[in-house]
């Protein structure tokens, strides 16, 4: 029983990161109807920036803040320079642009900081939380930070004018323009926020999986999975999906005998595909009704 609880909590901790990535992915998706495949790489790059600052003896929270701000700005710049010019191009071409971005970032990381794994500090320490064997302070920290971020985002989107404008721009860009909202900048802002969230996710998971250029591959994958599982039309669903994926991954790895460890990814994906067959638009997604 204790093992189960421990694994569920560990799953939630990892799931928190997947939830953040899922949220970042869905935010961009709602704005531009595309998946940002380079989200993970952008997060890794930010984590490296933070790591570098720490390596230069800067305090953790300064490095953290700089990385987050740099990601925010970077996200906006990438959107304006790279994706805005091709937003009318065929979908697959835009997809290839994402892939190109992925490639560029991944390779640049490797070139600047090489591929040896690096340790990344955690501000939360790694002791057992309150002495309990169920969860460590860092894991609790991951969940805590995620909850705080989700809370802030909720307040922003529901309670502020800008948040309302962003929601409107994503939901109905034509009508948004008719009320004077600069939809292009709303999209850029969405990218910025999404990158910043990714940066936080990267810096939280780096202490666990060690920092190296390919760090976020698996995480992004699980993030996507969580987003699709939850339903791409629902940010809340994406977050829930992320947590669920984290728990499933951990439980499958621990409890399914023998091949659980080897086929962790496969099992997670198979389970999710099975869910999709039953609920084709995700657990919390809305079926998109289109008029013909």
């Amino acid at each position: 029983m204790e093992l189960l609880l421990q694994q569920v909590l560990a799953g939630l901790a990892n799931g928190a990161i997947y939830a953040l990535m899922a949220l970042a992915v869905v935010m961009i998706y709602q704005a531009i109807d595309h998946l940002n495949f380079a989200q993970g790489e952008m997060a890794t790059f930010s984590a490296f920036i933070a790591w570098q600052l720490i390596a230069w003896d800067q305090p953790y929270w300064l490095a953290f803040a700089v990385a987050v701000i740099a990601s925010f700005v970077g996200g906006i710049v990438i959107e304006r320079i790279l994706f805005r010019p091709i937003h009318n191009a065929p979908i697959l071409s835009q997809l290839v642009a994402f892939i190109a971005l992925f490639s560029i970032l991944n390779s640049t990381d490797g070139e600047i900081w090489n591929f040896t794994i690096k340790t990344f500090p955690t501000p939360f320490g790694r002791e057992p939380l309150f002495g309990s064997r169920l969860i460590s302070t860092h894991e609790a920290g991951m969940i805590g930070v995620t909850v705080v971020i989700l809370g802030l985002l909720y307040l922003f989107f529901r309670g502020s004018r800008l948040g309302l404008a962003m929601r409107a721009a994503a939901a109905n860009p034509d009508s948004a323009r008719l009320v004077g909202i600069r939809v292009g900048w709303m999209i850029a802002l969405g990218w910025g926020m999404s990158s910043a969230i990714g940066a936080v996710a990267g810096m939280l998971i780096a202490p666990v999986v060690y920092l190296e250029p390919n760090m976020m591959l698996g995480v992004l994958l699980y993030g996507f999975t969580g987003a699709v599982l939850g339903g791409m039309t629902s940010p809340g669903g994406a977050v829930a999906g992320g947590f669920i994926v984290g728990v499933i991954e951990n439980l499958a790895g621990t409890f399914i005998p023998y091949f659980g460890r080897e086929l962790k990814l496969t099992i997670a994906l198979v389970l999710i595909t099975a869910v999709l067959l039953v609920r084709p638009t995700g657990l919390f997604g809305r079926a998109v009704v289109s008029r013909v």
């Binding site: 004018r161 409107a168 009508s175």
Partner: protein
């Protein structure tokens, strides 16, 4: 003249939809664009708002606005109520109205205007926290007009406001439009299929046929002409 249109052409991709449309509108005037389906009425409104590729001369207060982005045209005081209403379905009624005022900063003024809109459309006030998508067609149309009013527009473009609405609701709506025009001096350009109602409200009418204005004159004249009524207006 507040709005002057001369030689307006519009294109959907390679297809040309408007061939040199010209008309004008002054402060406080109500005019209507009539014609059969596919004549290009909606295209005219879209061209005015920069929503389709356009060429020619369109001046608002003397400023040339062809080629401007929609967001910028709107800020000049032109509110467009699109066909299909363009309601933000998943936010509340009140949030829809707040969105209408997105370009304004005067909080008190916005709040006062929202109350004024509720004054014109009491049913919206009853449903202020409801999701806009749950409103009936007539209520959504009222909401669309209300949202346009939040801009404090000098010109309102309405695209088929009567579409899909029950006759009684349409009458009520047009009454309100008349009141708005009288009280607030908002000029209106109305595209309508329901020619009879439009001719009652507007003082001047334009008849559009496959992208060209084929007739224009005071509503009374157009409405009285038997042959026009039968061939273009269907009654």
């Amino acid at each position: 003249m507040m709005l002057e249109v001369d030689g307006l052409e519009a294109f959907y991709g390679e297809q040309q939809a408007l061939f040199g449309v010209g008309f004008g509108l002054d402060e406080g005037q109500v005019r209507t664009l009539l014609g059969a389906n596919g004549a290009g009425k909606t295209t005219v409104l879209r061209a005015l708002c920069g929503m389709v590729r356009a060429a020619g001369d369109v001046r608002f207060d003397g400023k040339r606005i062809v080629g401007w982005a929609t967001e910028d045209i709107v800020r000049l005081g032109i509110a467009h109520v699109p066909d299909g209403r363009g309601t933000f379905l998943r936010v509340s009624v009140e949030e829809n109205l707040q969105l209408g005022a997105m370009t304004r900063r005067d909080r008190a003024g916005i709040a006062a205007d929202i109350e004024q809109v509720y004054g014109h459309f009491p049913r919206l006030k009853e449903r202020r926290t409801q999701q806009a998508g749950t409103l009936s067609g007539g209520e959504q149309q009222m909401l669309a007009v209300g949202r346009a009013l939040m801009l404090r527009p000098r010109l309102m473009l309405l695209d088929e406001p009567s579409f899909g609405l029950a006759p009684l609701v349409v009458e009520e709506l047009f009454e309100t439009l008349r009141d708005l025009n009288r009280e607030m001096g908002v000029a209106m350009l109305i595209v309508e299929q329901n020619a009879a109602l439009a001719l009652e409200l507007a003082e001047h009418a334009y008849l559009l046929e496959t992208g060209r204005i084929v007739m224009d004159g005071p509503s009374a004249v157009i409405g009285a002409d038997e042959s026009i009524r039968r061939s273009y207006l269907g009654y």
